[in-house]
């Protein structure tokens, strides 16, 4: 089976669960053996030599002669490559910006004032951002000039909502160009940025379309939904032959908020790469934390939907009862400044450590230091981060308002708004070694049920059920305002 996979991010350029999931899913799919994937990205994955994913060889003449810190202007308009360890997958991309759609909520469509704001959508630098606590492990291989270039892009390249529209449209055109010489049996589009392209490709080719819902506009923006994005999500799901949702929670949103028939939506859970952390961790994290202090960790984007303020409120309650506790907020995001101020205003600034964004071994180290990991998300379609925490042997407390809560049993669960209970459970983990031990012992076993191979196999089943009897030539559906 040949799959045309439409994605927006791939390690190391990831802002969240989307990139992590695409990587895990694609790699597992490549190892199934009977599936060939063409993975289309808005921009090339570059300079990834130090990661587990390695650029091995250009496989078409259109590949730029040099890889790594090449000036995008020197590149051909489209590139194709393969990655070591991911056979049966050909990556193709254009030279788009590949804005990060998740770090910040999409602004209301262009207003006069939005013109004066600094860049709202920028490319996540390699390894810069985590969403689901995921980080790429690349930074070491990054050339300095590459870094400067990226930063200059950020500082000078103001990308606005109109640019976001243009990007999505450009991606669509690129995909339509590209499918002319690409063979595929099914189209698999990840999240709304690729839905327009997916729908257009399906219309042109007559092949079945599967759209994958990693998060919805409601998860990202709460009640301040961007109508344009909502309309794209809705149109994509309605045009698709099958919808894959990352949890029943997300499926419920597809059904209730987007009017998608329930029987059209299949739930395929995400998984986690078992971390192969052996050997020495090379971290530059300051050892600013006393050895007798307990560490409570928040690791993820510091944005509204991740609930950092609930974490701080719980922290204050914990500190009412226990003194030798330090709270780490690892990550960055649009609420970081507000969160720092909140900690100070609560009078617990000295007990909360903001590490900024962590990458690579620093992430491994912070997990190693942590006594408990908390994911207080207000809305979490799935939540790969808790799985990563568990894979680092860290007892974990998760919000019940998360997809992963449907399948994880050996974690502690709280309603994100129930600060008393969150603090209660943090204290319990810190105080009672048997609780810690039991959680670790059982979750180690439980983690084995999360396998990207299972997820990949389930996706293939969805492809098989997404047959499209009517041939090519469907009328394109108008989308959006």
């Amino acid at each position: 089976m040949k799959v045309l996979m439409l994605g927006w991010e791939f390690p190391p350029f990831i802002s969240g669960g989307l990139g992590t999931a695409c990587y895990g899913l694609t790699r597992a799919m490549s190892q199934l053996g009977n599936v060939d994937v063409t993975f289309v990205l808005p921009k090339p994955v570059r300079s990834v030599s130090s990661t587990h994913v390695r650029l091995v060889a250009p496989d078409t003449p259109r590949v730029p002669k040099t890889v790594g810190p090449a000036n995008p202007a020197d590149s051909a308009p489209e590139t194709a490559w393969t990655l070591e360890g991911i056979d049966h997958v050909t990556f193709r991309s254009g030279q788009l910006e590949g804005f990060d759609p998740y770090t910040q909520p999409a602004p209301a469509l262009q207003t006069a004032s939005s013109r004066t704001r600094p860049a709202r959508f920028r490319i996540a630098r390699p390894g810069e951002q985590t969403a689901a606590g995921q980080t790429s492990k690349t930074q070491q291989g990054q050339q300095p000039q590459e870094k400067e270039k990226k930063e200059s892009v950020v500082s000078t390249g103001e990308v606005y909502a109109s640019d976001m529209r243009r990007e999505v449209e450009n991606y669509r055109s690129m995909v339509l160009d590209l499918i002319e010489d690409t063979e595929f049996d099914v189209i698999h589009a990840h999240d709304w940025m690729t839905y327009l392209a997916g729908v257009a490709a399906a219309d042109l080719s007559g092949k079945p379309l599967v759209v994958h819902l990693h998060s919805t506009e409601f998860d990202r923006s709460g009640v301040h939904v961007n109508q344009w994005i909502y309309d794209i999500e809705r149109a994509g799901m309605h045009a698709a032959d099958k919808v894959i949702a990352v949890s029943h929670l997300t499926k419920g949103i597809a059904v209730s908020r987007y009017g998608v028939p329930g029987e059209k939506v299949e739930v395929v859970y995400n998984a986690v790469e078992m971390n192969g952390l052996t050997g020495k961790i090379n971290s530059r994290l300051p050892a600013a934390i006393g050895r007798d202090e307990k560490i409570v960790l928040f690791l993820g984007r510091v944005t509204m939907q991740k609930g950092p303020e609930y974490f701080l409120s719980a922290a204050r309650k914990v500190l009412d009862v226990m003194d030798n506790v330090r709270f780490i907020i690892a990550g960055s995001g649009d609420m970081i400044r507000r969160t720092v101020e909140l900690a100070v205003n609560m009078g617990i600034g000295h007990k909360v450590l903001f590490t900024g964004f962590l990458r690579g071994d620093d992430v491994a180290k912070v997990y190693k230091m942590a006594d408990v990991y908390v994911m207080p998300s207000v809305s979490e379609p799935f939540g790969i981060a808790p799985l990563e925490a568990l894979s680092h042997d860290v007892p974990t407390i998760i919000s019940k308002q998360s997809g992963v809560s449907e399948v994880l049993k050996h974690v502690l669960k709280v309603d994100f708004w129930d600060i008393d209970e969150m603090a209660n459970k943090i204290i319990a983990v810190l105080r009672h070694p048997p609780l810690r031990d039991m959680l670790k012992q059982h979750s180690t076993v439980e983690l084995r049920k999360f396998s990207w191979f299972d997820s990949a196999r389930q996706c293939v089943k969805v492809y098989e059920s997404a047959g499209r009897p009517q041939a090519a030539g469907r009328k394109p559906q108008p989308v959006g305002p």
């Binding site: 669960k413 319990a428 009672h432 048997p434 609780l435």
Partner: protein, 400 residues
């Protein structure tokens, strides 16, 4: 000629309310839930089942007989919320056909940690049963039928003549549960072992449509009982009383089954009903049972793992019993009562992780979402109780 020996366990725990580490209140128990549960179960089970048993005793002119063990925590809840249930048990006692057994007052796991506490609670129970029902128990059972040689020896010293236990395969080692046994090293004590196959056919499988023997009719069951004829002295049917109407709902036909069974058992002239004390008075022990290890009637393992199978359970129990001497030294009756209520096996059952991964709920009316929540809540209560102990310390010092 087999005697049929029925013993029904009547128990409801005092469930702990949601109790965070920030609580200061000394009221640990969820009155609202406990009242609702006991009223519901009284309505569905205790009252209709007691009426049915009373009717059977009268109808068969005393030929139908059975035994009850009612825990102190159930008795306290009946007194508070359903006194009519206690009245109906008193009515049964007046027939002279019902034996009341002794056990720990608070359905406690004390035997595993403190013989002193175990004896105190069994005495409490024995005395209260005498006050309530006019008979002093001669038969004892330990919480959850937890049993070993030490327990037999200990209750023998306390003056009991009959003790009950699970007829677990590893205790019987090929022998039949349908005889009277003598515990190893206890000449004066008799041991009755639960016939778990026949007991569980009623208690667990009665309404299971996937069971090949479903539906279980009284005729079929009596045919199985009659097979023991000539091959055993007693068939010991031990089960939770909540089997009737609560575990097996009325619409499964369980009350019809109960109503028909004695008549059909007694239709065979070799059969009769006896209470545990009557069985051991009537038959000589046929062999010695040596049980160096603890057995119980829980789960398929029939060991302690339902209450003491993981680190949370053992830490909670150890910490609780570590406080015994301190609690008793305070002379504070409220504190002692709370400490004792926390010994109830149910609190530890809720912390069991054995079946949690499979998604199975380990007990009906389990108030917790997970065993971890059960442990956290319990430890918070224990923390508060320790705080109360500390308040006593300076007073004790001054008094000394």
């Amino acid at each position: 000629m087999p005697s049929i020996c029925c013993y029904f366990e009547v128990h409801q725990p005092f469930r702990v309310r949601r109790y965070t580490v920030f609580e200061k209140n000394h009221n640990y128990f969820n009155d609202e839930v406990n009242q609702a549960v006991i009223e519901k179960v009284a309505h569905k089970c205790y009252l209709p089942a007691n009426r049915a048993i009373l009717d059977l005793i009268r109808r068969h002119d005393g030929a139908f007989r059975c035994a009850y063990s009612i825990t102190g925590s159930a008795i306290e809840q009946f007194e508070r919320w359903c006194p009519q249930v206690l009245d109906s048990f008193a009515q049964l006692a007046e027939t002279g056909c019902v034996e009341f057994l002794a056990e720990t007052w608070y359905h406690s796991l004390a035997f595993l940690y403190s013989r002193e506490e175990f004896a105190a609670q069994v005495d409490m129970h024995r005395n209260r049963i005498h006050d309530l029902f006019g008979q002093t128990p001669r038969t004892v059972r330990n919480t959850e039928l937890i049993y070993n040689n030490d327990l037999a020896h200990f209750v023998s010293q306390m003056g009991f003549t009959t003790v009950l236990a699970e007829g677990a395969d590893h205790v019987l080692r090929g022998r039949s549960p349908d005889f009277v046994y003598r515990p190893a090293g206890c000449d004066g004590l008799r041991l009755l072992l639960k016939n778990y196959r026949l007991s569980d056919d009623i208690a667990f499988r009665f309404s299971n449509r996937g069971w090949p023997e479903w539906p279980l009719t009284s005729d079929k069951f009596v045919a199985w009982l009659n097979q023991v004829n000539g091959n055993g002295q007693t068939v010991n049917l031990f089960m939770d009383y909540e089997t009737f109407g609560e575990h097996q709902w009325a619409d499964t036909g369980i009350f019809t089954f109960l109503d028909e069974l004695p008549g059909k058992v007694l239709a065979h002239p070799d059969n009769d009903f006896k209470t545990p004390a009557e069985v051991t008075a009537a038959y000589e022990p046929c062999d010695v049972i040596d049980a160096p290890f603890m057995v119980s009637w829980a789960d398929t393992e029939r060991d302690l793992s339902a209450w003491l199978g993981n680190a949370m359970q053992s830490s909670a129990l150890h910490e609780l019993f570590n406080l015994e001497q301190q609690v008793k030294a305070t002379g504070d009756e409220d504190l002692l009562r709370d400490w004792r209520l926390l010994q109830c096996s149910d609190h530890y059952y809720y912390m069991c992780t054995k079946w949690f991964s499979d998604g199975a709920v380990h007990k009906y009316f389990n108030p917790y979402e997970s065993p971890y929540d059960a442990y956290i809540n319990f430890m918070n209560v224990l923390d508060n109780l320790k705080g109360r102990l500390k308040l006593h310390t300076p007073v004790a010092a001054l008094a000394g």
